[in-house]
Amino acid sequence: MMNLLKPMSIVCITAFFLSACFHNQDDDAMQEHTMMYQISVSNLSNNQALTPPAVVLHNENYSAWRLGMTASTALEKLAEGGDTTDFISDANANSAVAASQVLSNSPIGPGSSAQATIEISHVHELKLSVATMLANSNDAFTGVNSLDISSLAMNESLMIDVMVFDAGSELNSESAGTIPGPVDGGTGFDASRDDIVNFISIHPGVVSMDDGLASSVLDESHRWNGSVAQIKVTRLQ
């Protein structure tokens, strides 16, 4: 490197920095234009279908949930029954939200993934939030809250394995009739808040009939360890 630099004249160095400067101005101008992101959700669980994920692009003044705080009714409906209707309409009513979308028309099965492309105008401090229910659970959901994606350059990707949360809005009874997923076909959303707490926590995991909860409709195949989904964000424009 040093050998290459030695013969370089002052004129050359000036020219180099000038061109770099003009390039930055171009970047600033570009930021007023449309930005496009591909969001992908991959189901890495063994036997938990993920309900169609709600995806929100927003700035720092929106938050879909907070750990340790009570879940909104919209999040409760998503976490207990996979219903994204209120979650999306709440997001769209918030001026901090640039765009929202439901990622797929049907649940994402184990080993499968779904993706969508979302276009927005430039947002300062752009964040991504995603929420989807683990269908074979009482009120488990996974996703990400306010992941900062503002530093993603064109064609750059970011991948994250996301945690599983407990909405704290329904008791984790695992009993027949309480789980909407294919294992049970039970009730989804129920307005009562009958969990032992009424706040959002990291999910303790399901117990299952194979691990001593005789009344559970779940078996060991429905368990997970830490994470059940990978979210990938790629900036396309």
Binding site: S45, G111, S221, W224, N225, S227, Q230
Partner: protein, 236 residues
Amino acid sequence: MEIKCTQILTGLSLAVLASTSALAADINLSLTNLTHGSHFTPLLVSAHDSSTHVFQTGQAASSNLRLMAECGDTSGILSDLGGADMDTIDNPATGLLAPGASTSTSLMTATDNTHLSIVAMILPTNDGFVGVDSLMIPAAVGTYTYYLKAYDAGTEANDETLPGSSCAVGVAGIPAAPNSDGGTGATGAASADSNTMVHIHRGVLGDSNPTGGLSDLDSSIHRWQNPVAKLVITVN
């Protein structure tokens, strides 16, 4: 002068590009088994180009990944990666890596081998493995820490039985419990995986019955929580 200047700038930008993608790196690696009671079979550590993958979540396991995950045999993957050399270290711990134990190794990565993969089977499991696939090796000198998860190859039912026979791909059962802390007589904890792609391992079930029950594993010994390994990369 202008022509000369352009030539120099072109040469300079090429050199900058080359330094980020093609410069050999001298790195030390240390890997620690963070589990409470599970062993890792001989590790395979390899630096390779950015398009190579040893495993990918959401994709079916290759037959050689399956051989590693079900039987702890890295020979197939080693062959896929072109054999052991300065970029690929087979079995740095010279055998099993016990719970709590660490192993270290060094790589002198060749041009374009900018990404790192590590795999080893977790014993006792049916087809569980610890690993990282195609991690970009940091370019700057420094020490970097990563925590690794346990994955399920998706190729064998997690029946958690210990038949005591030698391992073969596609044959039910766990090859061994290295600390001789497994049971007998289990009826089988699970049938075939619902997710037949590589996915995050749901953990072992185990039970507290050493001579029967669903599982030959011990629920108070063989379970884990992610992460299961700590990887420290030192770029020299």
